[in-house]
Structure formats: C-alpha cells, structure tokens
C-alpha cells in the first residue's frame, strides 16, 4: 500500500469569476483528506454565491419587450428590463400619411402625394410682373391687372 501524501493548496489557483477555479483530483489511499480540501470547496461556493448576488438585479430583472409610443410622441421612455437586442421601439403619428406629405417627398418611408395648389381658383401662386399684372402660371394666356392700394393689400381687378 502506498504511503498517502498531502496535496498542496497553493498548487490550485482561484480565478472565478474571471476563469474557472482549479481543484485537485483526490485519489483514495494516495492522498490525505486535509482540511483545506473542504475549505477550498466552501471558498469557491461563496465566491460563486457572491458573484450571483452582485448581479442579482440583472439576473432577476424582467425581460424587455417591444416598445410602442403614444401617437405623436417624439420620445418615449424605455422600461428598465433586460433586452435581447432584437426588440424595437416605435414612434408613430396618425398625421404621417401619404396625403399629408408633399408629392415626391418621403418621410420615415411614407412617400407623399400632396400637390400644392393655390387658393380658391385652384391655380399656382400668382406672380406680379414689372408691368403691374398678376400672372398665373397654371392658367395659360391669362393675367390680371393689379392696382396696388396699400403695400400689403392689393386691389385686384380682372382685365
């Protein structure tokens, strides 16, 4: 029968939670069951417990879900939770419609169809030429003569 030997505690390093701890392989009738063998297990258990306690808030926090804001809300609060990285946050506005956006302009993926028209006549905005006539680009061969009564209130009459 071989003479048992003592394993040496310093030969086995403790590195958790950076890496795994090292433990000896104890062999019947070859090694003494020394006190440090048991203390080493308790040490590792306590370090593991402490690590879990230190991160308890993270571990036990609820899983986060997709977030949808209120209508017209530009910014929204993201609830405290653990997110996988695949959740989304959505801001929306019921006014974000094709007919509310200028034709050819795209906002957040919605392409506008609104065509700008001028006033009750349904024409583009008139241009006052050097001769004092109002020109309406959308009505060919037609113009109005204006006599300016006040700088900001023109008196317009048809010619």
């Amino acid at each position: 029968m071989p003479i048992p030997s003592h394993l040496t505690e310093s030969d086995y390093s403790k590195t958790f939670p950076t890496a795994l701890d090292e433990f000896p392989t104890v062999i019947d009738e070859q090694h003494y069951i020394d006190a440090w063998l048991l203390n080493s297990v308790f040490d590792s258990l306590l370090i593991t417990e402490q690590y879990l306690l230190d991160h308890k808030a993270n571990i036990e926090s609820p899983l986060g879900a997709d977030v949808i804001g209120d209508g017209g809300q530009l910014e929204m609060s993201i609830p405290a939770a653990r997110y996988s990285g695949y959740e989304t946050a959505l801001a929306w506005d019921s006014e974000l419609l094709e007919e509310n956006i200028k034709d050819g302009v795209s906002i957040f993926g919605v392409t506008g169809s609104y065509v700008v028209t001028g006033g009750a006549l349904g024409v583009s905005l008139p241009i006052l030429d050097a001769g004092g006539s109002w020109l309406f680009p959308s009505i060919p061969n037609q113009s109005l003569t204006a006599s300016v009564v006040a700088a900001s209130v023109p008196n317009v009459s048809a010619s």
Binding site: A35, L38, V41, L45, E49, L52, E60, L63, R82, S84
Partner: protein, 81 residues
Amino acid sequence: MKRISPKRLRRNLPEDNVVPTLTYYHLQAGNYPTAFPTALDAAPILKQKHTFIDGWIFNRMYSMMLSVQQYVLDNKTNIEV
C-alpha cells in the same frame, strides 16, 4: 465540550466528558446559517488536525451547491437570453 490541557495530556490523565482525541473538536451546523440567495451563506472553516470532518460538512457543501444551481435554474430564461 471540554478540552484537555496540554499538561493533562502529557500526564495522560483520564477525565470525564473530555474529547479523547487531543485537540480535535466538532464544528456545529447550527453556527453556520444559510441565507442564499438572499445573502451569503455562512461557511465553516476547517483547521488541519483540529476539526473533525463530520457528515454535516459534506451535506452543507451539497446543499450550498444545490442552492446555487436552483437559483440559476430559477432564472435560466433570463441568464440564457
């Protein structure tokens, strides 16, 4: 439990209610309460050639390990996200 003084040991005098194994003594499980996962467990510290390696020492190691594993399992869905 009463310990034998070194002087008495040298004279090898018998005495009632005395630990017969020199300076060895038993640790008591009740002195080491468990609290995980609320807080850290209290773990015994064994001393070479002083503390008996009693059955409860092993049982405590097993129960601590199971508590850690149970806590991990209880929160497995969070941990494995």
